[in-house]
Symmetry: C4
Subunit: 238 residues, 4 copies
């Protein structure tokens, strides 16, 4: 496959990988900024990521209006994606998930910090956004662009933002970047939780955080992972 089709296939594979690696379950979603029209993005109709196929992909403008809805039900939280694409021209893909390992860091005072080199790309710090701060009592979903923009503001120029009692949102230049960082943010949380049982933990230094971010995004590491995760997900070229 070439051009747009290859990008859209990556988006479908991303759904399958995130499901297979337990980053998403029935909920969660991943989007792709249109590679030729930066004012548009793609994501599945409302469906659990494990089940997403090419036919489920819909196109949206950055205000999250569907280009050609044809009666399809849409994710209720697509404003997460639209608002971040508006705020961050450098971002080509957004992953939103509720991975188990992440939640404790969203509801306590323990910050996530990089503990292993493979988590390169999660950044120096991972801020926590609480929807209650700006919007009071809600059903905790990011239902409109105002809420999405509040989230994007807390994300700032970072790679990931936790959402209190909800999950997290991760961004990347490409779908593959965003998937990789989402998976390793989860792995890092799991390892950190275990290590903190034993008292003081040696986290990566600032220099190591920067160097491992670059290393993890290199083809040597990233291509090997993508091949591995794709095969494990059971995805077959249709």
């Amino acid at each position: 496959m070439e051009g747009l089709d290859a990008h859209l296939e990556d988006l479908v594979i991303a759904n399958r990988i995130l499901a297979h690696e337990n980053v998403v379950d029935g909920f969660g979603h991943v989007s792709l900024r249109h590679p030729e029209r930066p004012d548009r993005f793609f994501m599945s109709r409302s469906r659990s990521p494990e089940l997403v196929t090419c036919d489920d992909i819909m196109e949206f403008d950055l205000d999250c209006n569907p280009i050609d809805q044809r009666g399809r039900v849409m994710y209720g939280e697509r404003a997460i994606h639209g608002a971040i694409f508006q705020a961050r021209p450098d971002v080509g893909s957004v992953v939103h998930n509720h991975a188990d390992e992440i939640i404790p860091y969203s509801v306590t005072k323990s910050p996530i910090r990089q503990i292993i080199h493979t988590a390169g790309g999660i950044g120096h710090d991972v801020p926590v956004w609480d929807i209650r701060d700006d919007f009071g009592d809600t059903d905790m979903l990011v239902r409109d662009l105002m809420q999405g923009r509040s989230l994007a503001k807390t994300l700032g120029d970072k790679a990931a933002v936790l959402m209190r009692g909800h999950g997290c949102t991760v961004v990347g230049k490409t779908v593959r970047d965003a998937v990789r960082i989402a998976i390793y943010l989860m792995v890092n949380a799991r390892l950190q939780t275990e290590a903190m049982r034993f008292g003081d933990v040696t986290f990566l230094s600032e220099g190591e955080i920067a160097a491992t971010a670059e290393m993890s995004a290199s083809p040597l590491a990233a291509d090997r992972l993508w091949e591995y995760w794709t095969r494990r997900s059971g995805y077959k070229n249709p």
Copy 2:
């Protein structure tokens, strides 16, 4: 399928889903109030939920007498279901399980509290029933309607009740509701256990608990989950 058959198929699928998501194992059961005769309910003959098929479904009156037993062995604890259907006309389905994550909250002083928005529907508090309080030393099974009514009394108007050293019982308007709440009660327990390691936890507010209960029961969330869980369970329309 239509009418009663569609309801009964949901009951079979519910058995498979609860098994596949590790809410039930060899034990546990789920029931459906007869949609046309509220003085009757359906549940499987005595069999592990993973193995239940349409042919295993039996019909009972609310005193738990079988309508047409034909020699089939019945669950020893069907009084859980009968007693709750008697006490709660709003309830259309009951799930009883021993999920690992639930047990610690049944034998200690830590109450379950909602920590994540997806657990909408578990309610403001989840009471704990101890069979020893009313009945002294027993084999801990709910073997008759007196015991079932004691349990139903502690359940009150709530969505779930823990049972000391035993498990929990969850109710819903429909089979799909009860299954969803049973799964997310388990998920909530798992996340809460992890989060409590880190000290003070921010739980959902009263307003958030109410709003997420409504959101979680909405078709946007609930239908996506049912499709997802059904597919994962491997259930095939016969």
Copy 3:
């Protein structure tokens, strides 16, 4: 199948179940006292339980000598089984395993106590045997009848004994009993470990321990489990 063949089939199924439920891994074994000759027992040649078939079953006298070895390699620790069959005429089956959940209770001062009704049969207390007490530094295997008898002495009239830094040994009247108790001893350890995080735990009372032992061994509970575990193990009648 009937008579001895049916008993031997249960022994093969027991191997598969214990492997599938993660009670045993590459190591561990299960034996059956000869139903017609109480001075003999059966167990597999030296092989991981997941791989055991009918053809692997060997016969031994209670001093652990093979009746008809035909060059087959034997488990190094069959003295566990022989010594217990000698000491306990009431025992018809022995399971030895290294389940992860058990080990912490074998190397610390925390005793296993019954926390859930389904663990009926594990008994009032589970003693811990340390091979170092009687035999000093060894490779920790129970390599001869003297070591086996020391273990059997600590087991006494109980249902299970932990082995320091090694695992546990569980007995039952039948293969199905021993398998069930071995699985739920593991489940009980897992639940107890989680519950103890939260401070004081309410364990079962003496009366409940006795009543749940009887209930768990009843056909209503035990047959449902055996059907369930057999199906899950993938065992097919050859």
Copy 4:
């Protein structure tokens, strides 16, 4: 298969086993010293271990130069292997991995100590190497022989060395030895982490550590495991 081919098949199987037992994931690698030319070693081209086949195996000299590269991408960290083969003539195989259970012991002051007899071979102590000590801020990969030699120096004459915020490296006389020790180092870490929750832990004595190392390497134990792990990995003789 015989001779070199049999050794290379063991290397392929080792990749599959390490992946299936969750010692390695997308990353990690295993090498084999050439059985006839001790100045050479074999390992896969850059590929996730789960996917490695015979055709992926490349040959290197001990300075990590490929003998016949043919354009294949190589692991970035093969210096771990070359440096250890140079320093340790007794070593015939090296496994490098990032197993979850290991990481906490690499970033805290808790040392790994043998807690179960099956972990025989992990040694009296498992040192921790921090790349920052000799090389300051890096991307934490062992990218050249100087870094590899620093790691080999900390390994000394031991069986395993942890790498801070990274993982561990394990050595053995044969591929089967290295695989077995890598798996049980992970298992030991898992069990130790759980046991340490309960306060003081009884670890193996010096004499037991030595005796279990010998026992674990014996054919009775090692052959049973290799058959078991190979079958579980799904490896099929091509």
